[in-house]
Amino acid sequence: MESIISVADLRKEFKVFRHHRGVSGAIRNLFTHEHRLVKAVDGVTFAIEPGELIGYLGPNGAGKSTTLKILTGILVPSSGEVRVSGRVPWRERRAHVARIGAVFGQRNTLWWDLPVIESLDLLKHIYRVPADRYQQNLNTFRDLLGLDEFLQTPVRSLSLGQLMRANLAAALLHDPDILFLDEPTIGLDVVAKERIRQFIQQINRQRATTVILTTHDLSEVEKLCERVMIIDHGRLLFDGQLEELRQRFGGERELVVDFAEVYEEVSVEGAEVATREGQRVTYRFSRGAVTASTLIGRLSAKYRILDLSVREPEIEATVRRIYEERLLDK
């Protein structure tokens, strides 16, 4: 099967001009063109199959948004090949854009003064959605996203959570093949995040919509994605299954245990004590050496435990580890 998105050796460089200050600086600005080259995307290659739900991770400034802008057709790359559904995004803008949906976190695609329903209606005309299909989708989204609560409200009066839900519905009205999400849950509370995550999952499963989700929230990725791509400094550090990421680079995990009493001696085989605070002990153990369940088994055999939890490393830490230890340099 033909990949729905294929990217080969994608590169994007930005010229950042040195901006001089003051009046004499303004004159200097006219004559000098001192600049440095920032490599936002530095040779990225990957292919995405239809129906995948992919997490595109990386720290701030890693190149995630730039990649997304190129895939949606807003930005033209410096070099490299991009094909989305067989098209080059920025060359066949209108045909390309008619088959995708995009939602950018904390930004808005709808018309400020209009009630949500009128914005959606206008989009129906812009995307030429057949009336009955529009009605079907609208009903589905009203149900799944709870739109009725604010369908008649002007977009400018919506809360952030409502705005994101409205924008999601808007992005899917025309049954796009691909949905691009750029940090869609940023700034939202836990309940709102969960609701949106469930919606994304349903859309992906029920409609086989390919979803590209950029985020730097690892827990979001864990709940939604199987395949994960990690980008940093414009380079793709990892492209594979989430589990593989954990196994290979998850490195050290932590087990936080609340004992029933303050034990003098809390050592256990396979893990080292990281911190102690009264009855709470944090153990550090490496994934390859021992499993969490084994460790728990050993601890509960020796001590009385009230509560415990396993902590995974954060994406930033994992990325840093990969980068610093140059684990992908083979």
Partner: protein, 266 residues
């Protein structure tokens, strides 16, 4: 395509008419305001006699053509108004437009439509009709057809200038106020007979930025006045050439601007 354009501007129109009294006040106010200015100018000019040999009714013809055209352009090309367009870019609205399967110009034309300009349009038409009434014009079929052609050409000319100003926003927003020299300044300039300006100014605005072709030469033709500069007799009919040449050049520049935006990001 056109239906979507009308849908888009009807949203803008509805939102402006939200407070109908205030809207009426605004529209009539701007109409009466500009009309009063013209009347005051008329009072002053008649005290002096002529404006470089032209009578007040003759000047009114230039003024009426210029004002009607400019105000109409201002309304239709509202989306390309450089000040408005620069805020659109800053808010990320242009990115949104790139993501919709609709031509960019249609979206921009549809992004704003300032209805209260009707006041100024009305004022321009009033002065224009007054000039037709007061001047002893020998009307022919050609002259009658030429009036709307001149107006449309002038709209195209200044619309092109708006588009140029908006395109500059892709590079910088700092010196936007200077665009007013060409738009508002240009309109005022062509409201007076060309010969009152120095020689090199006049030549510039006849051959380089051909604004003189928009109102001055057609007015000479309407009024049956001889051309003091001895230009070829085809001059009065070149308004469409001037207008649409500027518009076409502006659109070409616009394409360059869009490509620049897409390669450098926001």
């Amino acid at each position: 395509m056109f239906r979507l354009y009308t849908r888009l501007i009807s949203i803008r129109i509805r939102s402006q008419m939200q407070y109908p009294l205030s809207f009426l006040f605004d529209t009539l106010g701007s109409g009466f305001g500009t009309l009063s200015e013209f009347i005051a100018l008329w009072a002053v000019f008649t005290r002096f006699g002529t404006v470089g040999g032209w009578t007040m009714p003759e000047v009114a013809l230039l003024y009426g053509l210029a004002e009607t055209s400019f105000a109409t352009m201002d309304m239709v090309f509202s989306g390309y108004d450089p000040t408005f367009f620069s805020t659109q870019i800053q808010r990320g609205m242009f990115d949104q437009m790139l993501l919709r399967p609709l031509s960019l110009p249609v979206q921009i034309f549809g992004s704003e439509f300032i209805v209260r300009r009707l006041g100024r349009i009305g004022q321009g038409l009033a002065v224009l009709l007054l000039s037709f009434f007061l001047n002893p014009i020998q009307w022919t079929l050609v002259k009658i057809i030429l009036v709307p052609i001149v107006i449309v050409s002038t709209i195209a000319f200044f619309g092109g200038l708006f588009i140029v100003g908006a395109t500059i926003c892709f590079w910088t927003v700092e010196s936007l106020e200077a665009i007013n020299i060409f738009t508002y300044g240009g309109t005022t300039m062509i409201s007076y007979p060309m010969h009152i300006y120095g020689d090199w100014v006049r030549r510039f605005f006849t051959f380089v930025v051909p604004a003189a072709l928009l109102t001055y030469y057609p007015a000479l033709y309407f009024l049956g006045k001889p051309d003091p500069f001895g230009m070829p007799p085809v001059m009065p009919f070149l308004a469409p050439v001037a207008g649409f040449a500027v518009l076409a050049t502006a659109f070409a520049f616009w394409q360059v601007g869009v490509r620049h935006y897409q390669s450098t990001g926001s």
